[in-house]
């Protein structure tokens, strides 16, 4: 935090105090959880509460900001600073807060309706600016809180309360959108795999810049089984492709399937024993987003596995750092911004005096 901001009295103390050894319990609030029993949100909350104490950040420096929807109740259940805002706008509050207070660890919790429909514009822009924060997008492919309407990620022709004859909207792909929006960390994980979730959350939190994490989340009431083939432990290995940086794209129960490239066309290949040499190798640090985009477009309907893990992780200056640098540089160039300089600014260049 820069000197001179009146908010510093409180935060300097917080920043200098050695973070006490925190545990999951420290992040559990006293509020009753109001999600439906069996909702995937519980597992996501629990994973986040597991990860928070491991980040070496004082509890008071966490801020969880959400929009509107089932997932957006999240901040009430985490005993940190929290902000349950308005529909789709969480990234805007997060941007202002991070700019004003770069010292804080900011988490945005949103859903497919909140983040991709009403708030789509803000999501795009926070990612392109690379504001340092972690976005958890709970994707259940349905509107839950409003009781089951089609969402931007619902499948084409889905029959819902608002689309009894089938949805005629083509769905959006959140990972592809994040790539197009220049996010510097992009990952996908799944509510039924707490270990994977925790690993991804931790990596997302440690990344400097906007981290976008799509979480496949089961809405047991309005869209149960949406991610069935991969959420189910028994079928997951054959349908999910776990991305690991520098490792070949191999999957399947006995690791006998792999992805190779034919030009820019991915192909599934089956093999016995060691994977053949032409299997594609994952590079999450590729500056060119084309590779990650190709992965994001692999279509399960066409027989491809669903990639899970980190699609992209690249380094770029964060928005708040660039802002801080502009402040420092203008101070170097034109003076420290003292009260007398402000007086000179008020006075301006051309004045005249009316004598008494």
């Amino acid at each position: 935090m820069e000197p001179g901001n009146g908010g510093s009295a409180a935060t300097t103390t917080a920043a200098t105090a050695a973070p006490a050894a925190l545990t999951k319990k420290d992040f559990v609030s006293n509020q009753d959880i109001r999600w439906c029993p069996g909702c995937g949100d519980y597992a996501i909350l629990s994973s986040a509460q597991n990860v928070f104490p491991k980040l070496g950040i004082p509890r008071e420096n966490f801020v969880v900001i959400s929009g509107i929807g089932c997932s957006s109740r999240f901040p009430y259940y985490v005993n940190t600073y929290g902000f349950h805002s308005i529909h789709g706008r969480a990234p805007t509050f997060a941007t202002g807060l991070k700019l004003a207070r770069p010292d804080l660890s900011i988490w945005i919790v949103t859903g497919d309706g909140d983040g991709l429909s009403i708030g789509g514009n803000h999501l795009v822009h926070i990612m392109r600016r690379n504001v340092d924060c972690t976005i958890l997008l709970f994707n259940n492919r349905i509107y839950g809180l409003t009781k089951g309407q089609t969402s931007p990620t619902s499948e084409f022709n889905k029959k819902t309360k608002s689309t009894p004859l089938g949805s005629i909207d083509y769905p959006i792909n959140p990972i592809s959108l994040a790539l197009a929006s220049e996010a510097t960390f992009i990952a996908r994980t799944l509510d039924t795999d707490p270990k994977h979730m925790a690993r991804i959350f931790q990596q997302a939190a440690e990344h400097k810049g906007t981290s976008f994490v799509e979480i496949y989340q089961n809405c047991i009431i309005f869209n149960d089984g949406a991610f069935e083939p991969i959420s189910d432990k028994t079928t997951r290995a054959d349908n999910a492709l776990f991305l690991d940086h520098g490792r070949p794209l191999v999957y399947g129960k006995d690791s006998h399937q792999a992805i190779r490239l034919n030009g820019w066309q991915p192909e599934v290949l089956t093999f016995d024993g060691t994977p053949p040499a032409n299997v594609a190798v994952h590079d999450e640090t590729a500056v060119d987003p084309s590779w990650a985009y190709l992965l994001s477009r692999m279509d399960p309907q066409a027989g491809f596995p669903v990639p899970l893990g980190v699609f992209r992780r690249v380094t770029r200056d964060t928005y708040e750092n660039l802002m801080t640098r502009q402040i420092e540089e203008s101070r170097k160039k034109s003076g420290p911004g003292s009260a007398s300089e402000l007086q000179a600014l008020l006075t301006g260049e051309d004045t005249w005096t009316v004598p008494a």
């Binding site: 409180a10 935060t11 902000f83 202002g96 004003a100 003076g335 009316v354």
Partner: protein, 627 residues
């Protein structure tokens, strides 16, 4: 040619309007003339008037841009009702402006521009400079284009580039006519074009050529002179409303010991606030050009949550987009300043024209019971004071505050007595950092102001959750309890109402009681007070009251209204303040409503006052008025 000595006539004030194509540089010409007059010590008031299109078709009526300046040797409050001098650069400018010129007024035209194509575009079938239709004016036909070309013979610029200097020729001529020094403009040209010596040379020569043209031709018999104004002692500068607003916000942050955070989205006529503040990073000012209006207010609210002095600025259509977030800010009870630089509406309306029709939107334009404080500056310079005041109220009462400026204040300029920063009040800020016992209660209020504590993230032990769902009193937990909701709705209103104890009483210009009270708010101040002053000079029993606080109203307002037999409310809308006054105080207020995208003229208000046939002032009061 012999330069014969011309008579210099002393006059009290002059209103000049420069009019031309939007590409002719009329705004610059007007600004330069204003700067020079201000530095000379005249009182000034300006009215820039330009089209929304950046480059409307050249020569078209829609593309005419004008700049009116009133300069005087006494205290003036408006840019003047009718120009005494009109400078027109083409037929379209003549057509759209000549109706405003006073009978017998000076009309200076660029006769070179009165060619067939331009005449046709302006809808003239014959040349008005030649057909005698302008005989009621003192018409000067100056071949400006040719004279500029001659003056720039040695300059290597192209003919088209040289032609662009004709506004400086016109300015030079007007400088000569009104006996003004040219140093300030010469210096401006030097600074502006130092990287482009040919353009620097061309503009300098054009300016001088204009001045010498006045000096050497026999056409102009008289020069005029307006002496220094007798205004309150002090050091002055010229300032526009938007500049003053930006500086007021910065000074408020300074006096609160905080940094300013401003988020905006480009919109006319508010963008200049973002432009101005974005220059001042070294003062810790963080400006954020958001992806849309919603994001701009969202970012400001986020920054306020973090402890910054947060502000967003926009105009009507943008304010409409921000309303949901304003409701949130009311629920969160965080300090936030929202500036609405009003323009003609509804919808896109008249982006570059002024109006004050967003008062009811400011008051009620959100879902449910959602009160916020509303204040309005009356003059360009007052934008400073009211921006500062907005932050004082926002921080003290933990509430959003809306500042209602308008296009006329935003772009208009006047002399401004430069304040000393250390004489501005301190804005006390308190962020709790240590508590006595138990859990932190984010909605436990100060019993005096009803403000809740401003605990900021990063403070250990004060972790709490805020949001748009109704909050339980004291604890701030989510609550759907019926009684709690009613209590909170009433409390939020009581908090805003309570600000009335903390703001000045409304001043009355004139007498504290009488026949007719003219009540206004915002930028109509100058025209109203000038009209009332005139009426009183004629012995009429008329006074004026101007509101700078609209929610809550000053405490003395109801009583003040009752002391007059009749109340007249001039507004640049269809009667929004009048509706509020009627509802609140049951007074049968009369409206004078103008929605033309143009400010009131003094005479328009004067005429309405006369129509109402006010009584003569009782002799005792008249004696007091004269004294």
């Amino acid at each position: 040619m012999s330069a014969k000595e011309r008579r210099i006539e002393d006059i009290d004030h002059i209103v000049i309007r420069f009019a031309g194509d939007s590409g002719d540089g009329m705004q610059l010409t007007g600004t330069q003339f204003t700067d020079t007059s201000a530095i000379l010590g005249n009182d000034i008031s300006t009215l820039p008037d330009f089209p929304a299109e950046i480059r409307a078709p050249a020569g078209s009526l829609a593309g005419v841009s004008g700049y009116q300046v009133n300069f005087s040797n006494f205290d003036i409050r408006t840019p003047g009702d009718a120009p005494n001098v009109l400078v027109v650069m083409n037929p379209a400018a003549l057509k759209t402006n000549v109706g405003d010129l006073e009978p017998g007024g000076i009309l200076i035209s660029n006769s070179d521009a009165f060619v067939a194509d331009n005449l046709r575009q302006a809808g003239y079938t014959q040349n008005p400079l030649e057909d005698g239709t302008l005989r009621n004016f003192r018409l000067y036909k100056v071949p400006i284009t040719k004279l500029v070309d001659n003056a720039l013979k040695e300059n290597p610029l192209s003919f088209r580039q040289k032609e662009r200097c004709k506004n400086f020729f016109a300015l030079g001529l007007v400088y000569w006519m009104f006996n003004r020094p040219m140093e300030s403009t010469l210096k401006w040209i030097q600074d502006k074009f130092k990287k482009n010596p040919d353009v620097l040379d061309a503009n300098t020569r054009a300016l001088n050529a204009g001045f010498y043209y006045g000096e050497t031709t026999e056409a102009f018999e008289t020069r005029y002179q307006v002496r220094k104004a007798m205004i309150a002692p002090g050091t002055y500068r010229k300032i526009t409303g938007n500049e003053a607003l930006a500086l007021g916000l910065m000074c408020a942050a300074e006096r609160a010991g905080k940094h300013l955070f401003m988020a905006g989205y480009p919109i006319t006529p508010a963008s200049d606030i973002l432009h101005e503040l974005s220059k001042h990073r070294r003062f810790g000012v963080k400006t954020f050009q958001a992806e849309d209006e919603i994001s701009a207010i969202g970012a400001a609210i986020g920054a306020a949550f973090g402890g910054a002095m947060a502000v967003t600025a926009s105009s009507g259509p943008g304010i409409a987009l921000k309303t949901e977030a304003m409701g949130l800010a009311i629920m969160l009870e965080l300090p936030l300043v929202i500036c609405n630089i009003q323009r003609g509406g509804p919808s896109t309306g008249l982006p570059t024209k002024t109006e004050q029709a967003d008062l009811l939107q400011a008051m009620f334009g959100r879902n449910s019971e959602s009160p916020l404080a509303v204040i309005a500056p009356a003059t360009p310079g007052e934008c400073f004071t009211m921006a500062f005041e907005a932050f004082r109220i926002a921080v003290k009462y933990m509430t959003p505050v809306m500042v209602l400026s308008d296009g006329y204040l935003a772009n208009g300029a006047e002399p401004w007595a430069i304040p000393k920063i250390e004489s501005l009040p301190v804005i006390p800020v308190h962020h709790p950092t240590s508590k006595t016992d138990g859990a932190f209660l984010p909605y436990q209020r100060d019993p005096g102001t009803l403000a809740r504590p401003w605990a900021v993230p990063g403070t250990a032990g004060f972790e709490h959750r805020i949001g748009g769902i109704e909050k339980a009193d004291v604890t701030g937990n989510v609550s759907y309890d019926p009684d709690n909701h009613e209590h909170m709705v009433r409390t939020r209103k009581a908090k805003i109402d309570g600000i009335a104890n903390d703001i000045p009483h409304a001043d009355i210009f004139g007498s504290p009681e009488g026949d007719l009270l003219v009540v206004g708010w915002g930028s109509t101040y100058g025209a109203i007070v000038s009209a009332v002053e005139k009426a009183r000079a004629e012995g009429l029993d008329v006074s004026a009251l101007h509101l700078r606080y609209l929610n809550p109203f000053p405490k003395n307002l109801g009583d003040a209204l009752k002391r007059f037999r009749r109340v007249l409310v001039p507004e640049m809308n269809l009667g929004q303040l009048r509706m509020l006054l009627r509802a609140e105080f049951l007074v049968d207020a009369i409206g004078l409503n103008k929605v033309k995208g143009q400010p009131f003229k003094i005479a328009e208000i004067g005429r309405k006052i006369h129509d109402l046939n006010p009584k003569q002032m009782p002799s005792a009061r008249r004696a007091a008025a004269v004294a």
